[in-house]
């Protein structure tokens, strides 16, 4: 819940201050502060209903904040002279008329900013839509819709990109394509703000994470820190003396689980400590493996409260 430390420049970044959205009695986004830095991919994680999409919609002015403010590249999105040049947004793969061709959709979007047809052809090539550009959007798969949404976001060659679930509906090749694409955008110095519910995907794409739970920021840190700090490390031990070892390890702060015969999953004590203890009591050990916490586990630990809250709310 700390603000991201780092160089603060007014240019090319997203800044939220006390940003809040209420729908009647329900608070979807609750006074959040964060900064999305340029030159890196910032992942936006959280369970369904945590307020990710609402936050992104407020950034581009589709939803009006109930309180607080959010600025992009130094000003409110609607105040910019050329919004599409400031921010490219993919908020919904279906934000297009199903009866219009992909080319005409992009042409109409481009026309608002006086962007010429040459750029339309460029973004079509960029997103690999060349063969279907003349076809009506209604017949597009979700993946093609995502590509078209990304093409529209790229029309203004914006310094900041906001992508809500861009890999949703994509095949593995498309997922890889988006990953390389956003990495390159960040390498070019752009600000990339990306939400996804696929933790594994986020682990491979994002540099920094903002985790949202129940409308509040649960974590805002470099991805490596979140993975390291999110869960206590776990050690897997394979030994023919599993019950003896378990007895020796029994302490209030140590959790022991038997995953299969002769295998213990131990939390709360380092691998070295277990090895020393076993050696002391002359117990043979066949395997002693520290388990690296995954982002998925770290995420689950961080958002556990929010998820439990939601389950109760449903009941």
């Amino acid at each position: 819940m700390w603000a991201a430390a780092g160089i603060r420049s007014v240019e090319d970044m997203i800044t939220a201050e006390g940003l809040t959205k209420r729908y009647g009695a329900k608070t979807a986004v609750d006074h959040i502060d964060f900064t999305v830095q340029p030159g890196q991919v910032t992942g936006f994680l959280g369970p369904n209903g945590a307020g990710k999409s609402t936050t992104m919609r407020m950034i581009v002015g589709l939803d009006r904040p109930s309180d607080g403010r959010v600025t992009v590249n130094g000003g409110r999105y609607a105040q910019h002279r050329a919004p599409l040049h400031e921010v490219g947004a993919l908020l919904d793969a279906k934000a297009m008329h199903t009866g219009r061709s992909a080319y005409n959709h992009l042409l109409a979007m481009a026309a608002t900013h006086g962007i010429d047809a040459r750029r339309v052809h460029e973004v079509i090539e960029l997103t690999g839509l060349g063969s279907v550009a003349g076809k009506r959007v209604g017949g597009f798969s979700l993946g093609m819709g995502q590509r078209l949404g990304i093409a529209a976001a790229m029309l203004g060659d914006p310094a900041t990109l906001i992508l809500d679930e861009p890999v949703n509906g994509l095949d593995p090749e498309g997922v890889l394509w988006v990953r390389q694409f956003v990495r390159q955008l960040a390498a070019e110095g752009r600000t990339v703000f990306l939400s996804s519910h696929l933790m594994s995907e986020m682990a491979q794409t994002a540099d920094h994470l903002i985790v949202l739970g129940r409308g509040q920021i649960v974590a805002d840190a470099p991805i490596a820190d979140i993975i390291a700090g999110g869960t206590r490390s776990r050690v897997r031990v394979r030994t023919p003396h599993s019950s003896q070892l378990a007895d020796l390890l029994a302490r209030p702060d140590v959790t022991i689980m038997r995953s299969e015969a002769g295998v213990l999953e131990i939390t709360g004590i380092e691998a070295s400590g277990i090895g020393d203890l076993a050696a002391e009591h002359r117990l043979a050990i066949h395997e002693l493996t520290p388990q690296i916490a995954s982002l998925e586990e770290a995420y689950m630990a961080l958002t556990a409260d929010a998820v439990e809250y939601r389950t109760e709310a449903i009941r």
């Binding site: 394509w177 390159q184 110095g189």
Partner: protein, 281 residues
């Protein structure tokens, strides 16, 4: 299939000069592209033209088969007869442009396109204004061209009987253009209602209700004040933009009728503008 070709992209030379910006002219061009790139729009306008020509043909033929001696009519009556035949399509055509006007905006809400539209034009009002201008201009042009076309159809049917009218006679050209104007204003009214309701079914039902049901229902209510209200109902005032009602005892001048229609359109579009800015997209 598609891989990112690593272009020579370094922070130093990254973004090209971005010289273009958001402008009303651009938004208007965008709305024109949107209007012409949907099959449903193109079809609606084609139907409007076919209706105008077809109804003119049917009307004038049925008049002739009635056996009335048309040649004995005065010059004014001849012009009036031809204008009546030429503008008859507008009574049905108004339903076509009503549906079109609603769908122009509710189609964006139902498909999600509205989020792209308002994302590109975050101040929102220019998007609605450009939509209104494009819809009005295209509907007026297509409507006027179709009634002028219908004039030639009607004139051709009547040519054997000696009934003629000069297109450039103000008593002829003004009602023909008036029909186009009425259709364009109905489209605007429908656009406003569609924006307020954000639902295709609700919007179409409401506009058709105002155009067809409201005057009928009011007519059936015997109360005197209801009869006083009748001339202020949208279609009743609107029809006098092209149909000669000066014979009626309580005739309202052309300009007053135009003002009444503009009042309906203004209320609808102003309500739409207010809600568009206020609501979350």
């Amino acid at each position: 299939m598609t891989t990112i070709t690593p272009t020579t992209s370094h922070s130093a030379q990254r973004l090209p000069a971005r010289t273009t910006s958001l402008s009303f002219g651009g938004v208007l061009r965008s709305e024109w592209i949107k209007l012409r790139s949907l099959r449903s729009t193109v079809w609606s306008y084609l139907i409007l033209v076919v209706l105008a020509l077809g109804m003119a043909l049917v009307m004038s033929l049925s008049y002739l088969s009635g056996g009335t001696d048309a040649a004995g009519l005065s010059k004014e009556a001849q012009a009036d007869l031809i204008v009546q035949g030429s503008t008859f399509g507008a009574y049905i055509g108004q339903l076509v442009v009503a549906v079109l006007g609603v769908l122009v905006i509710t189609g964006e809400y139902s498909t999600g396109m509205i989020r792209s539209t308002l994302g590109a034009v975050p101040t929102r009002l220019p998007a609605l204004a450009a939509k209104a201008v494009a819809l009005f201009a295209v509907t007026f042009v297509v409507g006027a061209v179709s009634t002028v076309g219908a004039f030639f159809v009607t004139s051709a049917v009547f040519s054997d009987t000696g009934v003629t009218a000069n297109l450039l006679d103000p008593d002829v050209i003004l009602p023909l253009l008036g029909a186009g104007l009425y259709l364009a204003l109905v489209a605007l009214f429908a656009l406003g209602v569609g924006t307020i309701l954000r639902s295709s079914a609700g919007g179409i039902a409401t506009v058709v209700g105002v155009l067809l049901v409201l005057p009928l229902v009011l007519q059936m209510i015997p109360a005197e004040w209801v009869q006083d209200v009748l001339p202020y109902v949208l279609p009743n005032a609107g029809y006098s933009l092209f149909a000669d009602t000066s014979a009626a005892a309580d005739a309202v001048p052309f300009w007053e009728n135009l003002l009444i229609v503009l009042g309906w359109v203004g209320a609808s579009v102003a309500g739409a503008a207010m809600l568009l800015v206020k609501r979350d997209a």
